[in-house]
């Protein structure tokens, strides 16, 4: 409780790129397109090139996956991306180097690191928060840190000036929702299916109801992800969600262009940006469609 009070006060004076981006998009009356790629997939140079190309293709916020040997919440596509990255030698140090390199040419696009706790814990929580902030990271999504474990990383991250973005899921009922939202900042990430990434397609009616339900509990933007892959889906969900997250579809686009030894080809970057351009059109058109 003590910390919570301090952070509420701190939030007013210190906004992140994420807060600013959502404020801009609110004025533009459209949802954010949030794109996930795995850092270092299929190699660091290519994934940096993809990341740099994403904003021009229409990505409003970039989520960078920190590869982990045991991605328990991910489906086959993102599991494979993590394996490719690790095999190519990706480490936490290199992921942060990638972030610094991205920031050399882009000071505005919000960057969120997404992944699992152990690689952070082993890097050292305090060192990680300091280095991530310094490198230009704005927020963190750590799948296996529920509110019950807030003292591990969530509270220190807020104190370090990073957004800590929590996942709300179809199993998070109204009774539990306040616990999930307490200490959440930046935005709320609604996991649209009970399941792993990139496997089932969400029911857009059910998602729409869930977004309304979350909005009754918080003023934070609500982004939706975990089963969204097509522009039409993104458009449907973007009618009332503040952001749409697409991950597996991008990672599959990477995979489809690799050679027999999982090396990047000259098609790799363009394949991803083409998917993102189509999604961006869907997301930008959705509120117009809704108004008609």
């Amino acid at each position: 409780m003590f910390w919570a009070l301090i952070f509420e006060a701190a939030d007013v004076s210190e906004t992140t790129r994420i807060d600013r981006r959502f404020a801009e998009l609110k004025k533009a009356a459209r949802p954010a397109l949030m794109t996930f790629i795995t850092a270092g997939d299929p190699d660091m140079e290519t994934s940096l090139a993809i990341a740099k190309a994403l904003p021009a293709a229409g990505a409003d916020i970039i989520e960078l996956g920190m590869p982990f040997s045991d991605p328990m919440a991910d489906g086959p596509a993102i599991q494979a991306a993590g394996r490719r990255a690790l095999k190519a030698g990706q480490t936490m140090v290199k992921t942060l180097e990638m972030v610094r390199a991205f920031r050399e040419t882009d000071q505005d696009t919000p960057l969120v690191l997404m992944g699992y706790y152990n690689p952070i814990y082993i890097y050292g929580n305090d060192r990680f928060l300091a280095d991530a902030k310094e490198a230009g990271i704005d927020g963190l999504i750590v799948v296996d840190l529920p509110p019950e474990e807030d003292e591990e990383l969530c509270l220190p991250a807020l104190k370090a000036g990073l957004n800590f973005i929590r996942l709300a899921t179809p199993t998070t009922d109204d009774k539990r929702m306040p616990a999930v939202l307490r200490n959440t900042s930046g935005f709320v990430y609604y996991v649209s299916i009970a399941g792993i990434t990139g496997t089932k397609a969400p029911d857009s009616m059910a998602v729409s109801e869930a977004v309304e339900r979350i909005k009754r509990h918080t003023d934070l933007p609500v982004a939706v992800g975990f089963g969204v892959s097509k522009p039409e889906q993104a458009a449907a969900i973007g009618r009332n969600a503040d952001g749409v997250v697409v991950g597996s579809a991008l990672v599959r686009a990477v995979e489809a262009t690799l050679d027999d030894e999982n090396r990047a080809t000259d098609r790799t970057v363009a394949a991803v940006t083409e998917v993102v351009e189509a999604l961006a059109q869907g997301v930008r058109a959705c509120r117009l469609m809704a108004a008609e």
Binding site: F68, S69, D70, P71, M72, A73, G75, Q79, L86, T91, M92, Y116, Y117, N118, P119, I120, Y121, I122, Y123, V143, D144, L145, P146, E148, E149, R166, L167, A168, T169, P170, T171, T172, D173, R176, V180, V191, I193, A194, G195, I196, T199, K200
Partner: protein, 406 residues
């Protein structure tokens, strides 16, 4: 690392599921509400005499409890030191201690109204026990098993199928127990409404480590009574094999506050602790990390990527360990030692020839340490070792190593 000694070693975990630094609830939000429901359901069941009576009745008439405490006379004479007793949990229905836990969890699943059961397995002993209780109570059962383990534990794979379970081979990673656990967790997240996950060892998110320990503590509680009857006193030493550590915590827990009882947990030393990724001794050769819902000792690299580990025993081939063991290691109450593949094989053969008992490769590791320990102790001292599984499933593996074509 040594930490302050508690007044009792038997009070954990605390309300957040911690044993000191270890344990906790490091799971995705989708699972968290269910984990909290499970904790409440287990706390209620624990206090319910009807639940306990049903479990005890099944233990007696279905499993065959109490399992005997057997004086291994020829082995004792051969080693020339302390008297060696085996707790014969390999005589249980299904051939290992795993049934103790599966019966407890299936009764709990039914209380919670869950109809579909999933489980992970390494050696197949837990998979067989889970498939067995599902057949007994009429629930569909899906068992996740790494492809490497499917290959080296064929008899158990067929047994599970006969019992009506669906066995899903898992190809990710090295295709062993860790990968099977990941895949079971993915299934659980996707089917959380109707599915109960019967975890096979005293690991995973709270309340699993405490719950599995409680269901397995029948082993240690029986040993106390049986040894009082046989010898009129407590043992001088307890020895058990550690993979995730459920048979060991079941034997150890009732004795943790008897400070004169020395306790040894035996990890899989594989090709030797000096071999990188060549063993599965997470406490002797690992460091604290977070995997599968809890913080515990893990085999991992400097970047926090979890290693696969190696052991000749599919049941010990896991890069983590139950969090209570990690805490017992750091407090110094339990001594954890490795035994190599080679030492386990020698113990396997010695026990078979001298006692007419074919041990599973898992307790063969415990026996390897008994072979080192017994000769250093006086003849009037007593060791109790948990013979937690029978070796029928391992004859192909052992035949392979000994160069016998079956």
């Amino acid at each position: 690392m040594n930490i302050a000694q508690p007044n009792t070693y038997r009070a954990g975990p605390d309300e957040t599921g911690r044993f000191g630094l270890f344990g906790g609830r490091f799971v995705a939000e989708t699972l968290m509400p269910l984990i909290l429901d499970l904790e409440a359901a287990y706390e209620a069941a624990k206090e319910d005499p009807e639940f306990q009576a049903e479990l005890a009745d099944l233990g007696k008439h279905y499993t065959g409890r109490p399992s005997p405490l057997y004086f291994a006379e020829r082995l004792t004479t051969h080693l020339g030191g302390a008297k060696i007793y085996f707790k014969r949990d390999e005589l249980n229905h299904t051939g290992s201690h795993k049934i103790n836990n599966c019966l407890g969890q299936i009764l709990l699943a039914r209380r919670m109204g869950k109809t579909r059961i999933i489980a992970e397995t390494g050696a197949g002993q837990h998979g067989v026990a889970a498939a067995t209780v599902c057949a007994r109570f009429g629930h569909p059962c899906v068992v996740y098993m790494g492809t490497t383990d499917v290959d080296r534990q064929k008899p158990n794979v067929f047994r599970m199928k006969l019992l009506g379970a669906e066995v899903h081979p898992v190809t990710s990673g090295a295709g062993t127990l860790k990968d099977a656990l990941n895949e079971a967790l993915r299934d659980w997240v996707a089917n959380v409404e109707n599915t109960f996950y019967i975890i096979g060892t005293a690991a995973g998110p709270h309340p699993y480590p405490a719950m599995v320990r409680d269901f397995q503590s029948v082993i240690g509680n029986e040993v106390r009574e049986q040894l009082m009857e046989a010898e009129g006193r407590l043992p001088d030493a307890l020895v058990a094999a550690i993979g995730g550590g459920s048979n060991a915590i079941g034997l150890f827990h009732p004795f943790l506050d008897d400070r004169d009882v020395a306790i040894y947990g035996v990890e899989a030393g594989g090709h030797g602790l000096d071999q990188v990724n060549g063993h599965a001794a997470s406490m002797s050769g690992g460091s604290p990390g977070v995997l599968h819902g809890n913080r515990t000792y893990l085999l991992q690299d400097g970047d926090g990527q979890v290693l696969e580990g190696h052991s000749i025993s599919a049941g010990l081939d896991y890069p983590g360990v139950g969090p209570e063991h990690s805490w017992l290691k750091d407090t110094g109450r339990v001594t954890y030692v490795p035994a190599t593949d080679q030492e386990a094989l020698e113990a396997f053969q010695l026990c078979t020839r001298l006692e007419g008992i074919i041990p599973a490769l898992e307790p063969a590791h415990a026996l390897a340490h008994v072979m080192k320990l017994a000769p250093t102790m006086a003849k009037d001292q007593i060791i109790v070792m948990n013979m937690c599984g029978r070796g029928d499933k391992d004859v192909f593996t052992v035949g392979d190593v000994l160069g016998v074509d079956l």
